[in-house]
């Protein structure tokens, strides 16, 4: 499918632009290094834009491709284990992108880091260890986050995508198309950084793809931060094993989840205005 191949191309663009950005980023001076990249490095803002848009494109492409698969009922073409691993690509992509957001080091990123530390810590038994493993110890710099962003989750995303597509590398045309689209977006829409310190009384927003979850956490206990996504993944994953009314019910559940998520996103955006 074309969408899937372009999505793989976007992942490749994100990977290579990320490699180009890596020398300019500092774990101990994250925001300062990104301000320097944006303000004092020739074409730095553009490179960062390409990285951001290709990564966002990868997430959107993954979602759209998932929808396409479910719409065309082609999930059964994959073996169950491959299907489940393909479904797992969604949280892996989100976690990879979230790492990139946290690496900004601005007030929004700091707030998001604190929220995700709480969410991770709320996982029973292994929560605190998981939080320390993924996000580092409280007060430490962002080196662990960057390691998982550039290493763990990117590698996982690549492997899962490659397995799903049955090819280790994206094809050249898809990659060129993905690069051109990323160049266009990065040139036309600058990617900004957040404030260094949270303004008094302001509602800080997390990454756009997690706004629904942020909105849900305003009312729900912190464990909802991992229980709600887990519910969606289970519903989508089980579609492969269901037929008829059961499949329809699972899809309806996933659709309701998505609608609710959009509603919560909208509510949060309105509250932030």
């Amino acid at each position: 499918m074309i969408l899937g191949r372009v999505t793989f191309g976007l992942l490749a663009v994100a990977l290579f632009s990320g490699l180009a950005l890596a020398p300019f980023w500092s774990a101990g001076r994250a925001l300062e290094s990104l301000e320097t990249l944006n303000g004092a490095t020739p074409w730095g803002f553009f490179l960062r834009g390409v990285h951001a848009f290709s990564a966002w494109g990868f997430l959107l492409g993954t979602l759209a491709h998932l929808g396409e698969v479910l719409w065309k009922r082609t999930e059964s073409r994959l073996r169950p284990a491959v299907w489940w691993r393909s479904v797992a690509l969604l949280p892996v992509a989100v976690l990879a992108l979230l790492g990139g957001f946290l690496m900004r080091g601005d007030a929004e990123a700091q707030a998001a880091l604190a929220v995700w530390r709480e969410v991770s810590s709320s996982v029973p038994i292994a929560g605190r260890a998981l939080a320390a493993l993924l996000l580092g110890l409280p007060g430490a710099d962002l080196a662990p986050v960057s390691l998982h962003h550039a290493g763990t989750f990117t590698l996982l995303a690549w492997l899962l995508t490659a397995e799903h597509g049955g090819t280790l590398l994206p094809d050249l045309r898809s990659t060129v198309l993905a690069a051109l689209a990323s160049f266009a977006a990065a040139g036309l829409f600058p990617v900004s950084l957040g404030p260094p310190v949270a303004p008094d009384g302001a509602l800080l927003l997390g990454p756009w793809y997690l706004l629904g979850l942020q909105g849900a956490l305003l009312d729900l206990p912190v464990a909802a931060g991992w229980l709600l996504p887990l519910a969606l993944l289970l519903a989508v994953g089980l579609v492969r094993h269901a037929d008829g009314r059961a499949r329809a019910a699972l899809l309806a559940l996933a659709a309701a989840w998505g609608a609710g998520y959009l509603a919560l996103t909208l509510r949060l955006l309105l509250a932030a205005r």
Binding site: E32, L180, A184, L188, P190, V197
Partner: protein
């Protein structure tokens, strides 16, 4: 397979994107600063643009030492103005953001936390007394603050009165929220620690910021209400008509109000500033949410002049106050652990008071000049029987500003600056009086039973009917230390023969058949026996009340006792006179006829010249 059109479209879009990026790249390169971008050992890109010398506050807060963002926030890493100025605090020290500016970690954390609880920030005393005077709360106390009040959408008449007349003088009042009443440079910490922009002075983009708070900064707020900062300088506010009568003897205050001259406080004449006496806890608070100023102020005359109260003296080895220790370190001073130190009422060391040969000496903090501090003499004046309850200021306050009558009404048709809205809003509180005066203060009995100076605090007619409020008259005196301390105390007659000092108001005291009577110069409309500016009557069943729970005028018994000696004063005017050593014995000797006193044969006391007159000291006596 992708169609060629799709690739072509992507190529065109990418070209458009690259063109847009090229434009922004040119802008970025052009805007890039050329100057150094570090200050205080950290990245501070503000200084690539803000390079002019006059943009440097200098001193401990010099641009090179702390940069700009330490106080002004914003984004010190940014390369463009919009991002650099995003989230900037134009008024560093403002209490809304003080935890991130002055009170940030590594700077003044303790002080900033205390200031927020201090009375200068909360003004709870002003709020509670005003609400009580309007009849909105049962007693003049409470923890409601000016901040609470200003945040309210619906205000009571008292709260509206405060918001329009009083709310400029508290540390939460932002510069933009003020009209021109305060003439300060900011709010919060800046209200005291930033040099004022004096009218007519050469404009400076950035004023200096320092620990030394000069008297002119106190004057901004404390030249109002009790007006202690004016009194300290030897100035008292007057009405324009009074200024016209005084002619060249009148002066104009920093904010245009006319003033007359009186004798300055003896400490002022010795060159002492406000902060030479007042401790850091007096000014910035001690972390306790005091209701009224008298409970927050630590310094007392006894701390310097003695005799020290129990527990009022210790050694530096016992001092734990970290702020005082920091102050000493900043001054480059040390104190031997064994050196004695006097303490304020709550235990804060008076660090600029040091033992010296034969006594104590006071250091003028700003100039570093040491002044010998005279101890309270243990003489007849200070051991006069019957005067044990008097505070130092009851006798040593030479005069106090007095506004004996006040008429306050609400004009619904007018408009007035509203400190809560930072704009002129409909409705105006109009105050009028028959003129200000400066005279020796009256005497009040404080809640702790001690006798202290008092002035008419709210002897007023209030008409808030147009604001759906009350319409009534109040006769409230307020106790205060006027800050007009004289080396020489007021004489006996100025209290015992003064109807004003005794709280009766302006009028004539006379004595018939051994009994005193009082004739008011201007009777009150509601009671002809009462002076219009009086607080109580000679035979009032209960004393006059004041602006604190338990504050009162002298009661009938105390007045009788005070007047009982009046007959003797014309001949026995000095405390060293033998008759005062045992006044009861003296009276017994008089009754037996064993004295040469002509009082008994005359049959009635001989009123003094003062008692026949207005019973007070006129302005010309003070100047």
């Amino acid at each position: 397979m992708f169609r060629a059109q799709a690739l072509l479209l992507a190529l065109l879009l990418a070209l458009a994107g690259l063109l847009g990026a090229l434009g922004r790249e040119r802008q970025r390169a052009a805007a890039l600063g050329r100057a150094p971008d570090r200050a205080g050992g950290k990245v501070e890109r503000c200084v690539t643009c803000h390079v002019r010398p006059e943009e440097d506050p200098g001193g401990a807060h010099a641009r090179a030492a702390v940069g700009c963002s330490s106080c002004h926030l914003g984004n010190p890493f940014a390369f463009d103005k919009a991002r650099a100025h995003a989230g900037m605090e134009p008024e560093p020290g403002a209490l809304r953001s003080v935890a991130r500016t002055c009170g940030r970690s590594g700077c003044h954390v303790r002080e900033a936390a205390r200031v927020a609880t201090s009375l200068m920030a909360r003004a709870s005393g002003i709020v509670s007394v005003n609400r009580w005077a309007f009849g909105e709360v049962p007693e003049p106390r409470g923890t409601a603050t000016m901040v609470d009040l200003l945040a309210k959408e619906e205000r009571t008449p008292a709260e509206d009165h405060l918001a329009k007349l009083c709310a400029g003088c508290h540390l939460h009042a932002l510069r933009a929220s003020r009209d021109d009443a305060i003439h300060g440079n900011g709010s919060g910490c800046s209200a005291c620690h930033v040099a004022r922009r004096l009218p007519g002075a050469v404009p400076r983009p950035h004023p200096s910021v320092d620990a030394h708070v000069t008297d002119d900064r106190c004057l901004g707020c404390h030249s109002r209400s009790g007006r202690i900062a004016l009194t300290y300088e030897g100035l008292y506010e007057i009405e324009p008509a009074q200024a016209a009568a005084l002619g060249t003897a009148a002066t104009t205050l920093h904010d245009g109000r006319p003033a007359g001259h009186a004798e300055a406080d003896v400490h002022r004449r010795a060159g002492l500033s406000c902060v030479d006496c007042h401790l850091h806890t007096d000014l910035m608070g001690d972390g306790t949410r005091h209701e009224h100023s008298e409970s927050q102020v630590e310094i007392a005359c006894e701390a310097c002049h003695g005799p020290a109260r129990d527990g009022g003296e210790t050694t530096w080895a016992e001092v734990r106050d970290p702020i005082t220790r920091d102050l000493l370190r900043q001054q480059g001073e040390t104190r031997p652990p064994g050196e004695r130190v006097r303490l304020g009422r709550h235990g804060t060391p008076v660090w600029n008071l040091r033992p010296s040969e034969g006594g104590w000496s006071t250091l003028r903090k700003r100039q570093g000049v040491a002044l010998a501090t005279r101890p309270t003499p243990a003489d007849a004046n200070h051991r006069l029987p019957g005067h044990e309850r008097l505070t130092c200021s009851a006798c040593h306050s030479a005069w106090a500003p007095t506004c004996s009558t006040c008429h306050t009404r609400y004009d619904a048709e007018g408009a007035q600056w509203d400190f809560a809205k930072a704009a002129e809003t409909p409705g105006r509180w109009v105050e009028a009086s028959e003129g200000y005066d400066a005279r020796p203060p009256a005497l009040a009995v404080r809640p702790d039973g001690r006798i202290a100076p008092a002035i008419p605090g709210m002897v007023m007619d209030l008409d808030a009917a147009a604001a759906s409020g009350p319409r009534f008259s109040r006769r409230l005196y307020a106790s205060l230390d006027p800050h007009s301390t004289g080396k020489k105390a007021r004489d006996c007659a100025s209290c015992h023969l003064s109807s004003w000092a005794l709280g009766l108001g302006t009028g004539t005291l006379s004595f018939e058949s051994g009994a005193a009577s009082f004739s008011p110069a201007s009777p009150a409309t509601d009671d002809a026996r009462l002076a219009v500016d009086g607080w109580t009557l000679l035979d009032a069943p209960s004393p006059g009340i004041g602006t604190r729970v338990g504050l009162r005028s002298l009661d009938a018994a105390e007045l009788r006792r005070a007047l009982a000696v009046s007959a003797c004063l014309p001949c026995h005017a000095k405390a060293t006179d033998l008759v005062w050593r045992d006044f009861a014995g003296s009276k017994a000797r008089l009754a037996r006829g064993g004295t040469r006193c002509g009082f008994r044969s005359a049959g009635s006391p001989r009123p003094s010249a003062r008692a026949e007159g207005a019973g007070l000291v006129g302005l010309k006596d003070i100047r």
